[in-house]
């Protein structure tokens, strides 16, 4: 989508030209003001004006030529880069498959690897793991690529920083992990965001270590104390994939965990489908904050299971005073037994909130034959019009009713 070379030079040139124009225009205005004191278009103003016109025209010509010549330059460069990429890829693959035994044909034999070489090896690392992957990682380290990225990640220049963080994320080198965690405290939000993601993917491939000072522990400490939006923390946790479980467990078990992070943890458990954590998740069913109660039930709904300990609070929450808590509780209640859930859900077919009515009807329809029968009854004869309509709609969506029957039921032509 976006290319990333040539932009620095172009930006600089544009900046310079516009900067010059700005000064020139300022001078023009000033001289005009001074000039108008003594007459309308006095010659010094005209002179300046002429000067600016000429310089602007030149700038136009210059930039135009740059753009056109860039076309040729970039075509050649693209081809050259493609060739280089192929060469480097061949070399890296050779190294991966046969080991660094013989130095092989190293195109260039430079101490620092060119960008193309790094791009090649990072792409290969996305494709192959195991012995071959390890050899590539060693090669990266031996060329000092990781330390080079780390230096750039700490540099002041924003684009260099972001480039480096992005590449560290691709490389997933364990030695970069702590530095990425440090960057979570950077002043710029975009740096923090990208570092969080890179830290997540890196941790995902690091072997689990026990102990209070393990990478897990450092990660948890970092996200607790960094200024990150909840969505960013969630992304980072999701990127942990199979490693997320123990970390989430630790987070949820912490009684001092902030509400925001608890919410994030619940969301992540639900999204990752960690069914074995249903109990830990359910612990927040009675939380004073309605957002967290709702998040708990949403999580249980995603997991598709409600542990026994949570049944009571869940059923009570169907009558919660806060509407969005009722919604999530009603949805989750669809995973309970019909005897338990039905009597609690049925009254909410005529709840004041459209969303609760929908959730109640949908859950009832999921409770087996008796649930569907309840909804059918409501569709036919519930005294509340809104309840009838919602029942009909849910039956339609569940393919329990044909469109023709639905129209008949609600008296639509």
């Amino acid at each position: 989508m976006w290319r990333r070379y040539g932009d620095a030079a172009y930006t600089l040139m544009t900046l310079a030209i516009f900067g010059f124009e700005t000064i020139a225009l300022g001078a023009l205005s000033l001289s005009f003001l001074l000039g108008s004191a003594s007459g309308i278009a006095s010659t010094p103003v005209e002179g300046i004006l002429l000067g600016i016109v000429i310089s602007t025209a030149s700038a136009l010509a210059l930039l135009g030529l740059y753009l056109l010549s860039y076309h040729f330059i970039s075509n050649m460069r693209d081809r050259w880069q493609a060739d280089q990429l192929d060469q480097w890829t061949e070399w890296w693959v050779g190294l991966a498959l046969t080991g660094p035994g013989e130095p092989g044909v190293n195109p260039g034999n430079r101490r620092r690897l060119p960008r193309v070489a790094v791009h090649s090896v990072l792409s290969l690392l996305e494709a192959v793991k195991g012995e071959e992957g390890d050899r590539l990682k060693e090669a990266l380290a031996s060329h000092g690529v990781d330390s080079w990225f780390l230096r750039r990640a700490r540099s002041g220049h924003l684009t260099a920083k972001l480039d480096a963080i992005e590449n560290l994320g691709k490389a997933r080198l364990p030695q970069s992990f702590d530095h990425l965690l440090d960057l979570l405290h950077n002043a710029k939000p975009v740096v923090r965001r990208m570092s969080a993601r890179a830290a997540g993917v890196t941790l995902a491939v690091m072997p689990p270590e026990p102990g209070p000072d393990s990478p897990h522990a450092r990660f948890i400490h970092a996200i607790k104390h960094a200024d990150l939006q909840p969505g960013v923390v969630q992304e980072s946790l999701l990127l942990l994939e199979t490693r997320a479980g123990p970390i989430l467990r630790e987070l949820l078990a912490d009684p001092d965990l902030s509400d925001t992070l608890r919410w994030v943890a619940l969301e992540t458990v639900g999204r990752l489908g960690l069914a074995d954590m249903a109990d830990e998740a359910a612990a927040s069913s009675n939380h004073p904050d309605p957002e967290l109660r709702a998040a708990t039930f949403r999580c249980l709904r995603r997991l598709g299971s409600v542990p026994e300990t949570a049944e009571g609070p869940l059923l009570a929450a169907v009558d919660d005073e806060v509407d969005f808590v009722r919604v999530q509780a009603a949805h989750a209640a669809g995973f309970l037994s019909a005897e338990a859930a039905l009597p609690r859900l049925e009254p909410h077919l005529e709840d004041t909130s459209w969303w609760v009515r929908r959730a109640a009807a949908a859950s009832l329809a999921r409770l087996g034959e008796i649930g569907v029968a309840t909804v059918r009854r409501a569709a036919e004869s519930h005294p509340d019009k809104a309840a009838r309509e919602m029942a009909v709609q849910i039956l339609l969506e569940a393919d329990e009713l044909t469109p023709a029957a639905a129209r008949l039921a609600t008296g639509v032509a």
Partner: protein, 149 residues
């Protein structure tokens, strides 16, 4: 009677939009003895190359711009007759279970997630090729003498 072709003579087609992945797979196959490997980075050329090359196995990436793996499988499906066993091995970074299901029901015969292990991939390729050649033999044997295949 058809002499059993050696597995390493098999024609293998690699389709992946990333040049790096293509080179990697080519070298891995080469190292393992396969001599007849062709590759594409532009999936829109698949059909033409398929007709010309008639591969025994296709290694296919899923997420490609313009034409993704599913679209390619659909195109190939229209091309091959129903009794041809054309093994398609999907190689992708997408670990979602629903993608796997979708790929397998779209005609893929096997599914490997990236990053992959070299030995595992080679093993699966070998299995698929063996099945393919067995199938070809059976089909050839089923046709009575004197009739064109």
């Amino acid at each position: 009677m058809l002499a059993t072709p050696r597995l390493t003579d098999a024609r293998i087609l690699v389709v992946d939009d990333e040049r790096v992945n293509v080179v990697l797979l080519e070298r891995i196959l080469e190292q393992d003895g396969y001599r007849n490997v062709k590759s594409l980075t532009d999936p829109s050329e698949v059909v033409a190359l398929y007709d010309q090359f008639e591969p025994d196995l296709v290694l296919l990436d899923l997420h490609m711009p313009k034409l993704d793996g599913f679209a390619v499988m659909k195109l190939l499906e229209d091309r091959i007759s129903s009794d041809t066993f054309l093994p398609i091995l999907i190689l992708t970074a997408d670990i979602r279970p629903e993608i796997k299901r979708r790929a397998l029901s779209a005609g893929a015969k096997d599914f490997v997630t990236k990053p992959f292990d070299r030995t595992e991939v080679l093993l699966r390729i070998q299995n698929l090729l063996e099945t393919r050649f067995l199938h070809l033999r059976m089909r050839h044997d089923a046709v009575p003498e004197g009739q064109a295949t």
